[in-house]
């Protein structure tokens, strides 16, 4: 994806050396030998397969779900909350059971949904690692895991939001959530004007990943 959201991905590395990465290098050459953890993970999978606990296809299917389905679940849930006030209330009270009601099993994840209002804008980060509601939003984007985002968004959230193109007036409270322990978070953005007659499916289309993390707000196409 190009555009302002690549900002963090393009920042210089902070792992202590200066060099240019060759963007055109084939992935296979860039990977290098497997790390200790990759070897451990591979060995674990082979043992579990040999013992008949899981099959390779079950693992493949799981990875496929993470990439093909999970990233769209958050938008579907929030679109439902936009169109059903009683569901929204349940989502804000207990994110996991509301998701289960919507047919989305979050497994171990405890979800806290936080609502944007004309007075409050919510923003999610995990400063300690990169905790993220994976069962709802898929894998976290590169910028979310970057040290730049994790360290800056807690003490200069308004500057970081500005870099994402999100300008908030001073009367709006910026409420940063450091997702540092057992809870996972999703932002319920404000429903934009001009979407009154939209279907849930169409609404879900503007509830992008970045709006559910809180670095931006949903836009009605053509109205920007």
């Amino acid at each position: 994806m190009s555009g302002p959201f690549d900002f963090y991905a393009k920042r210089p590395h902070d792992h202590g050396h200066e060099h240019d990465h060759d963007d055109h290098k084939p992935e296979s050459e860039a990977e290098g030998p497997p790390s200790e953890f990759e070897i451990l993970s591979r060995a674990m999978q082979e043992l579990l397969e040999a013992k008949g606990v899981v099959t390779a296809d079950q693992i493949r299917r799981r990875i496929e779900l993470f990439e093909e389905d999970f990233p769209y679940r958050g938008g579907r849930v929030v679109a439902r909350a936009w169109t059903d006030p009683a569901f929204k209330r349940r989502l804000l009270e207990d994110g996991r059971s509301a998701c289960a009601e919507a047919g989305i099993e979050l497994e171990a994840e405890r979800l806290i949904a936080v609502e944007n209002t004309p007075d409050v804008h919510n923003l999610i980060v995990c400063t300690l690692c990169s905790c993220y509601p994976r069962a709802l939003l898929g894998m976290p984007p590169t910028w979310y895991k970057s040290r730049n985002y994790r360290s800056r968004v807690v003490f200069e959230p308004r500057a970081v939001l500005r870099e994402f193109g999100t300008l908030l007036p001073d009367h709006v409270t910026v409420r940063v959530h450091d997702s540092n322990a057992d809870m996972r978070y999703v932002v319920v953005p404000m429903r934009p004007k001009g979407t009154e007659n939209w279907s849930e499916e169409r609404l879900a289309g503007i509830l992008t990943r970045d709006t559910l993390v809180g670095v931006t707000v949903p836009q009605v196409p053509g109205k920007e």
């Binding site: 804000l92 059971s97 409270t173 997702s179 322990a181």
Partner: protein
């Protein structure tokens, strides 16, 4: 306007015998023990308000080393004023930061509100 905390309930794991209630003023212990800790350094010694009780969870400081994490510890969400956490904070006074803190990292805050 400050976000409303009064209406928020939590229906996760029960937290019997929790020591603090929503709205209580607390101070995060200003200690720096070695080991796996889920309390960020930047918040140690800071003062905030209990936003909600999340429930009781296995202690990550034990889980990290292969133990079962029992007894479970009560987990709270604590709200802090950004101006208090970062004295040089550039933004309005009403901006806040919230995070999850286990009960054994909290102590009552008796002083004036920060």
């Amino acid at each position: 306007m400050s976000p409303d905390t009064a209406a928020i309930r939590s229906s996760y794991a029960p937290a019997p015998g929790h020591r603090y209630a929503v709205g209580d003023r607390v101070r995060i212990k200003g200690v720096f023990p070695p080991g796996h800790r889920r309390t960020p350094w930047y918040i140690r010694g800071k003062r905030g308000v209990i936003e909600r009780i999340c429930g009781a969870f296995p202690n990550p400081e034990e889980l990290a080393y292969g133990f079962d994490g029992e007894p479970a510890k009560v987990l709270y969400r604590v709200r802090f004023a950004q101006k208090h956490v970062w004295p040089g904070y550039r933004g309005p006074d009403h901006d806040v930061i919230e995070m999850e803190i286990f009960e054994h990292w909290l102590e009552p805050d008796e002083g004036e509100a920060p």
